[in-house]
């Protein structure tokens, strides 16, 4: 029995960053909006309070805030010929659940893509020649250019109160900021975080090598900050408990700390937690999603919520799943190249790192903020260096710093140290406070054989098929990783450490066990052609006018940069299109 509810103006599926932003923009435009969140309601006061919020075992290891894989997961195979098996325990990536979504437990790294990242295919073809991009590399341009999106990046950074320093202010390059970034109209809303010992060592070494160090933009408040919504965030305590944790000080930007206070106070918004959306009710002829069906996870009862506008703001996999089950776009098939849904699933080429040890320096890794609390360089990122003759495209941001010193997971020892026993103890006690990591986050460019569809065998707790991920690293990724590994080694040696590990390089199959990054992208990508993309430049479904899809599932490929900055900017961009265009004239905003 499904109870049909009274129609509302708009429904948001998922109440994380994108759901909160869209709900806020639509309620401001006068709409009545319902937010459906599969998980529990979570507030900083109730759920992220001291002292329990510092429980490393509960949050970082036992994964308290993440999607419960007992109920929902995805399956993986490395190639189309293999049989996929479910990811039974989260490891490689950590999707959120509950109000705030992953925005409650992220680290806070908030980037913009570079102008060439936005126009990736045309940029590479113009610089390296028409045939330079291999046939299997199915990269695309974002249909929205950097310049078009710049005001929306700015808006999202102001919502979050991002700490940082501009490196390109209206075309003027500024030393100490990221000189490779696209031109910004405004500086960051908050000054950079304090300098860490690791960051200062990185800054000196990379300058000596002729690189351009800067401090990574961080949604961790260097100073208390009041955002344009009138919400005040606290100053960061450098507690070293960002990623995997909530913030008791409201000093890390999250839906809770930035936007939910105003949204929840608005009568036009209604939050329904424990509301797990099972399916979209699609009317193909009308080109609309008429309603969403959800299960109240407290009672098992099913409801149908009709809505004028549907905002799909779940994580990458559920965005794809809900569209696939409703038959809204054609499933991508790697054999023929036909179909758009599930196409261009990408991840991140991570795993490049080197650990440096300094006998005479106190690092204090436990005094840290989440967002790569150190110093970055972008000299090896994107197309900031000449790829002529290298045999690969893309690059990586490189960062040296500390995000935490929580010893269950963070206790570096020099190479050759056993993993246990007396010698392990000696080395751990000796080096815990004297080491840090230089890491890299590499671009992952789309490959013909990497995609999402439905698993034929395994099901979730609602009886729906799991999303099946067909994914592996390919030639471009391995070459990129070798190149970045060499760069890391060079930087590490320039630091003149007492000891260093040999730079780790990505080799072998994608492994779901060690944590790599929660930067899963693609599957419902944005583009200009309905045959190869799922949503248009406004994130509007080509086949359902009133369906707007949020989040990194719309990325045609993954840049090196952590996705949240772009996710937020695109959410504001889409919201502006809905409120200024769609509400006046409901229908396709781009003719397909």
């Amino acid at each position: 029995m499904t109870t049909v509810l009274k129609e509302v103006d708009a429904v948001c599926i998922g109440v994380g960053f994108t759901g909160s932003i869209l709900a806020r923009e639509l309620t401001k435009a006068g709409l009545k909006v319902v937010g459906l969140e599969r998980g529990a309601n979570r507030s900083a006061r109730e759920d992220f309070a001291l002292p329990s919020v510092r429980d490393d075992l509960k949050y970082a290891v036992r994964q308290e805030l993440f999607q419960d894989t007992q109920l929902e997961t995805v399956s993986l195979r490395h190639a189309p010929a293999e049989t996929a098996l479910p990811i039974r325990r989260l490891g490689s990536f950590l999707p959120g659940t509950g109000v705030g979504g992953a925005g409650a437990h992220w680290n806070g790294v908030t980037w913009r893509l570079t102008p060439s990242d936005h126009a990736l295919r045309s940029h590479l073809e113009s610089r390296y020649g028409k045939g330079a991009v291999p046939a299997e590399m199915t990269i695309e341009d974002f249909p929205v250019s950097y310049d078009e999106l710049e005001p929306y990046y700015d808006r999202f950074e102001k919502l979050l109160g991002v700490s940082g320093k501009a490196g390109n202010l209206r075309g003027q390059k500024i030393d100490g900021g990221n000189v490779f970034e696209g031109p910004r109209q405004n500086d960051y809303p908050n000054k950079p975080l304090a300098v860490s010992m690791a960051g200062s060592i990185m800054e000196k070494a990379s300058r000596e090598l002729g690189y351009h160090p800067f401090r990574a933009p961080a949604a961790n408040m260097s100073e208390a900050y009041t955002n344009p919504e009138g919400v005040t965030l606290g100053a960061c305590e450098y507690c070293g408990h960002c990623e995997r944790f909530g913030c008791e000080a409201n000093a890390k930007s999250s839906p809770q700390s930035c936007i939910l206070p105003v949204l929840l106070a608005d009568d036009r918004f209604e939050l329904r937690a424990h509301a797990h959306v099972r399916e979209l009710v699609y009317d193909k002829e009308a080109c609309k999603v008429k309603a969403v069906r959800y299960v109240d996870t407290r009672t098992g009862e099913e409801y149908e919520q009709p809505a004028g506008i549907v905002i799909l703001g779940a994580y990458v996999f559920n965005n794809m799943l809900l569209m696939r089950l409703a038959g809204i776009s054609e499933q991508y098939d790697p054999a023929t190249g036909k179909g758009a849904l599930g196409r261009n699933y990408c991840y991140q080429v991570s795993g490049n790192n080197v650990t440096v040890f300094f006998a005479d320096k106190e690092i204090n890794p436990f005094m840290a903020a989440g967002a790569s609390f150190g110093t970055n360089i972008d000299d090896f990122n994107g197309d900031n260096f000449d790829h002529g003759g290298l045999g690969f495209f893309g690059g990586a941001w490189i960062s040296a710093g500390t995000s935490n010193g929580r010893p269950i997971l963070t206790r570096p020892v020099p190479p050759g140290t056993p993993r246990w026993g007396r010698d392990w103890k000696k080395a751990t006690a000796k080096w815990y406070n004297h080491a840090f990591n230089i890491g890299a986050s590499g671009c992952n460019y789309a490959h013909r054989e990497n995609y999402l569809d439905l698993d034929p065998t395994y099901r979730d707790a609602l009886g729906r098929p799991l999303v099946r991920m067909t994914y592996n690293f390919h030639d471009n990724d391995y070459k990129l990783s070798e190149y970045i590994g060499a760069a890391l080694g060079k930087i590490a040696r320039a630091m003149n450490p007492t000891a260093m590990s040999s730079p780790a390089v990505r080799r072998g199959n994608y492994n779901v066990v060690p944590y790599q990054s929660t930067h899963n992208t693609g599957g419902t990508i944005t583009g200009t052609d309905p045959k190869t993309s799922v949503v248009n430049r406004y994130l509007q479904s080509w086949n359902a006018d009133n369906l707007f899809v949020m989040g990194a599932s719309v990325f045609p490929q993954n840049a090196s940069y952590n996705p949240t900055g772009l996710v937020g900017a695109l959410a504001y961009y889409s919201a502006a299109a809905i409120t200024t265009q769609y509400l006046k004239r409901p229908g396709p905003l781009v003719q397909g």
Binding site: R88, I408, R411, N509
Partner: protein, 236 residues
């Protein structure tokens, strides 16, 4: 084997020397320990167990003390409460398979696909300890916890390197799970029963709570932070 029918725990209780000491010595303040010994002149209470059998407990005690031996840096793993931690974790939600997708089928899988067995962690450790002890009997003629320290080290190393052929699954898988949960117990907040007296945090210089360093991030730049650690319990 005949002696498998004898409850392991009773056997250990009756024994003297190393094995008995392993089950009983706990890290309590020296004064209290002296007082208790003076009062009763008997061995301290054995640890109450929630789920581990006596045989499993003996194995875990021996394993955590080999992984974390007592030295000038810290008491042994079991004296730090790591065996108690493991018993509690396996008896609770984690042990019962919380956050573990358990729908079949369960075909043999390449390791990059992660854990693919139908066993929850409690069942996994039961099977793993059985296999480890069976291998130990075959190789050394006795169970793991009755081996000398040198042999225990060699046995764990063989498991770590996949050179201990286990019945059922790869010994590396079991060893890695054992190492992981031992380190969790050693380094987690003491509220879970391990890391007694914050011994592991003292060993590395991790200050624990409250971790509010807004001033210290500047005043301790490049300097050792030498405040004694505090636990969640100290703020509750």
């Amino acid at each position: 084997m005949a002696d498998e029918t004898i409850p392991r725990r009773d056997f250990l209780k009756g024994a003297v020397g190393t094995a008995a000491a392993l089950t009983t010595v706990r890290s309590v303040p020296a004064e209290a320990q002296a007082a208790s010994q003076a009062a009763t002149a008997a061995a301290p209470e054995p640890e109450p167990l929630l789920t581990l059998t006596a045989t499993e407990h003996a194995f875990i005690l021996a394993a955590v003390d080999t992984i974390i031996p007592a030295d000038e840096l810290s008491p042994s793993g079991s004296d730090c409460g790591v065996a108690a931690f493991i018993d509690r974790q396996l008896a609770g939600a984690y042990g019962m398979g919380a956050r573990l997708y358990r729908q079949g089928p369960f075909p043999k899988a390449k390791p990059e696909l992660g854990y693919q067995l139908s066993l929850n962690p409690r069942e996994f450790f039961r099977a793993g300890i059985e296999s480890a002890n069976a291998w130990s009997r075959k190789t050394y003629g006795k169970e793991f916890d009755r081996l000398s320290e040198t042999d225990r080290e060699a046995a764990l190393k063989a498991m770590e390197e996949g050179k201990a052929p286990f019945d059922g699954f790869d010994s590396r898988m079991f060893f890695n799970a054992l190492l992981q949960i031992t380190m969790e117990g050693f380094f987690a907040d003491p509220i879970y029963g391990g890391n007694r007296d914050m011994a592991a945090w003292k060993m590395v210089g991790y200050p624990g709570l409250p971790a509010t360093y807004r001033e210290e991030i500047r005043t301790y730049f490049g300097k050792k932070y030498d405040k004694p650690p505090r636990s969640i319990a100290d703020f509750s």
